[in-house]
Subunit: 222 residues, 2 copies
């Protein structure tokens, strides 16, 4: 069989992150996501298939089995609970916690996970606005749109930041792009690819690049 190593957990998490719950994902994408060579990714996916965590289809790639999804979600849950715990209880910097959680998640038992979750009041969202899988691994689904692809005139609420780089997260925070913030797209300059946003009462000009990973929901009420 295949052991539940840190490496295996990282692969499963990456697969989940790339949508392998429902879609087939090809080794090359995993390789990029994990900064690993293609042959290494291929070999590991082979082992994961042996172990029953993923299944493959000839030219389409790999998909998580329910066993694999289970394991992946368990790790995702630990990660997100850790992030929230570190921010809210231990007062760590918002931008720092992703990195910390990345290491701790592999060492956190279900027992400690449960204790932290309980201390937080069994929260639903992590500091980046991502859903925390429940104890029995259900994940809340929302219909969000990328802010970097919305037409001018829209009025939105920031819901989720799907971006892991601490520098990028710091930029988001500095600009007020945090979950719950109200944003309206005032203008889009197609030639220079620049959005003019109103965030709260500040005006900010950002390119599509700088909005990568910001997901929003249409605001219903002003």
């Amino acid at each position: 069989m295949i052991a539940q190593t840190i490496s295996v957990e990282d692969y499963l998490k990456a697969l989940y992150g790339l949508g392998a719950l429902t879609d087939f994902v090809r080794p090359a994408r995993i390789a990029v996501r994990l900064s690993i060579s293609r042959p290494s990714a291929g070999a590991m996916l082979g082992r994961l298939e042996e172990g029953g965590f993923v299944e493959s289809e000839k030219g389409r790639g790999y998909r998580l089995t329910s066993e694999g999804a289970q394991r992946a979600l368990r790790v995702v849950r630990k990660h997100r609970i850790l992030e929230l715990y570190l921010v809210r209880v231990l007062k760590l910097d918002w931008e720092a916690v992703h990195e910390e959680a990345e290491r701790l998640e592999h060492a956190l038992s279900d027992r400690v996970e449960a204790a932290m979750s309980h201390a937080l009041g069994d929260p639903e969202w992590d500091p980046e606005g991502q859903p925390i899988p429940t104890q029995d691994l259900q994940v809340a689904v929302r219909d969000l749109l990328p802010l970097g692809a919305s037409a001018p005139g829209g009025d939105f609420i920031v819901r989720e930041l799907r971006n892991e780089a601490p520098e990028r997260l710091r930029r988001f925070r500095d600009r007020g792009l945090v979950p719950g913030a109200r944003v309206s797209v005032e203008e889009y300059d197609e030639i220079d690819d620049l959005y003019t946003l109103r965030i709260g009462r500040k005006k900010v000009v950002i390119g599509t690049e700088g909005l990568d990973g910001v997901f929003v929901e249409a605001a219903t009420e002003p």
Copy 2:
């Protein structure tokens, strides 16, 4: 060079635990302590010496260098802070936390360690009564004696439990043998090797075996 892997941290911690701060420790003892074969222990100690974490003397064994001691104490500090945090803040069972800390210690950054320590009021002792190395890695020294080697008639205070097995710790707790408890040795039956102790107001009969790791201080005042 040699990397700061989990394995390396475990060796350094084991060395510290066996007194390699001051004394030379031979590979065979490390092997037993870590449940590892002697050749493996020998090889790793060689690597640790290469890396400057330990120094050896021909037939005497290995001793931590100041670099090695530093690393070892850092891990010990993380371990003990984690134990206390898990017990006091997250309300985990006293007997369970050693095992949890054993895994988490390797993933805990200095930053999170500091935050936990601060949340606990920078404590001096862990739940088993062992000293927590300070931020700058100073360790409090006390003069304790093993309860299992004391003459009848003595009046003591339990200070430290140097025993990691959860079942053993549970026995200690059930019998009231926890740090701070008052114990007097009422009788010692040499033939059957049985101590009759008064712990608080309970009378308990235990053999030397059952007292392994219980360290006490002579009580000055009743």
